[in-house]
Amino acid sequence: MAELIVYGIVLGSIISLGAIGLSLVYGILRFANFAHGDFLTAGAYVALFMVTGVLSWIGIPDNTFGSLSFGWRMVIAFPISMVVVGCVAIALDRILYRKLRQKGSGAVMLAMSSLGAAFIIRMIILIIWGADSLFYRPGLMRPALEVPLGIKIRPDQILILFVVLFLVVLLHLFLKKTKMGKAMRATADNMELALISGINTERIIIWTWGIGGALAAAGGILYGIDVQLHPYMGWNFLIPLFAATILGTIGNIYGALIGGLTIGIAQQVSTAFLLPTYKLAVAFIIMILILLIRPKGIFGKE
């Protein structure tokens, strides 16, 4: 059981990265971006393209760090992929969502269009890489360490937790300490008043998409390192992402973090009683229960 909880924390931290971005966008633009899951997929595959393509052509060595499953190539590919997907998210807003907003489309119309965008991203990935599962390093043995309580954990997974922690702390500092970060929170709080205060909310929206996309990319890559890459990986994350976002109160990034961890742990622990294929159903049931019992989430005011 302790082991399942630890695996749940690893999965949950990845869900959190996606949920934070989803929550940021939802908090400001008030619509459900169904393409967010596919940002995770895009991030994972952009990193794959870098690791097996660009970076190997330019001769970055392929060795791994100690008992980790990756090396310098991934260290370089990781931030590049975050930037690329951040730009994809911004571009999607500029060419699609912004146009719809300006025409006064409602939340449902925007959500439906995001569903379309999700299909497009996924199909592009399917066309390029095919429908099979892929790995950053195929055929690599990934030994697990024994830690107290008889828990087996791979060095990769420990690193994943540190990377997520690092990104969350970085985001926290950005939102609390920088002028742009504070303006982002202000815009999420009260867009009209932000405008009245002279905050350029369109610029804030661009930042929000960029950060949301970059965090999703990070989540996707980490999942690819931990498990595997698959064109549907992000789509399968969508329900956990929404469950985590709603559980943690829409627009609240700390809530999204806690929500993500909760959903991750619940999903992994459920495998002790249910078939692993029911993991998604567990996230879905939690989401329905929150919506019935406390629709505004744990941090929401009634």
Partner: protein, 234 residues
């Protein structure tokens, strides 16, 4: 000297006009109160002056500059600040952060201005790290006004500053408004609490059905029998 002037304003949210040829003048350092029944278009006039609504006809002039139709952030830069009636704070942010957001467009060091705002609203200084969502209605109103004062405006637009406050707090807020005015800030105040608003005002305007009905010195309107009967509740 006239600092702000709105002339012949015709405006509406949809095709239906709310205001018809409404005009208002504010001299520098003056408090101007706008009174009138619900739906007279008082708040609409403030929103039009601040650029949230674009007038179909008419003009807004600040000093000698035509600012008609500019966006709110531009108008804020020109020296007008606006406190909406509701949702006028950032609830999940601290008092200090709310004031910082008020100074968002300032690139200079505004720490002295924050100090001045805290000097005016001393109760806020003690709680600057508290989230505004947890404050009482009166304190929220102070944060809202403090945010608007961060740009050192020449004209402050206040929409129903006393709305929803307990009677004891209403006089507190009006006292603060007088203090702000004493520092040389001109103001336009829209108020339901018409009698109090006219007492403070150098000049008052009565709006009804989206039109100018009457304007005069504050005390003159208070003494006017017809105004008393129709708009001040007898």
């Amino acid at each position: 000297m006239i600092i702000l002037k709105a002339e012949d304003i015709t405006v509406g949210y949809t095709e239906v006009d709310i205001l018809h040829d409404v005009g208002i003048r504010v001299k520098s350092g003056e408090i101007v109160s706008i009174i009138g029944p619900n739906g007279a278009g008082k708040s609409t006039l403030l929103k039009t002056i601040f650029g949230i609504l674009k007038p179909r006809n008419g003009s807004v002039t600040l000093k000698d500059e035509d600012i008609t139709g500019l966006n709110p952030d531009k108008i804020a830069r020109k020296g007008i600040s606006y406190v909406p009636q509701v949702e006028n704070v950032f609830p999940s942010m601290t008092i200090q952060e709310n004031l910082e957001m008020g100074a968002f467009i300032r690139d200079d060091d505004y720490s002295q201005r924050i100090d001045e705002v805290y000097d005016l609203f001393t109760v806020l200084r003690e709680r600057k790290k508290q989230k505004v969502g947890h404050l009482s209605g009166g304190q929220r109103q102070m944060v809202a006004m403090g945010r608007a004062l961060m740009l050192d405006p020449q004209v402050l637009l206040l929409d129903e500053p006393s709305a929803g406050l307990a009677p004891v707090l209403v006089s507190d807020i009006f006292e603060k408004i007088m203090e702000i005015n004493a520092t040389g800030v001109a103001m336009i105040i829209v108020e339901q609490n018409a009698r109090e608003a006219l007492k403070m005002a150098h000049h008052g305007y009565v709006l009804a059905m989206g039109r100018n009905v009457l304007d005069d010195k504050g005390e003159a309107l208070l003494a006017n029998e017809e105004v008393g009967r129709l708009y001040l509740g007898g």
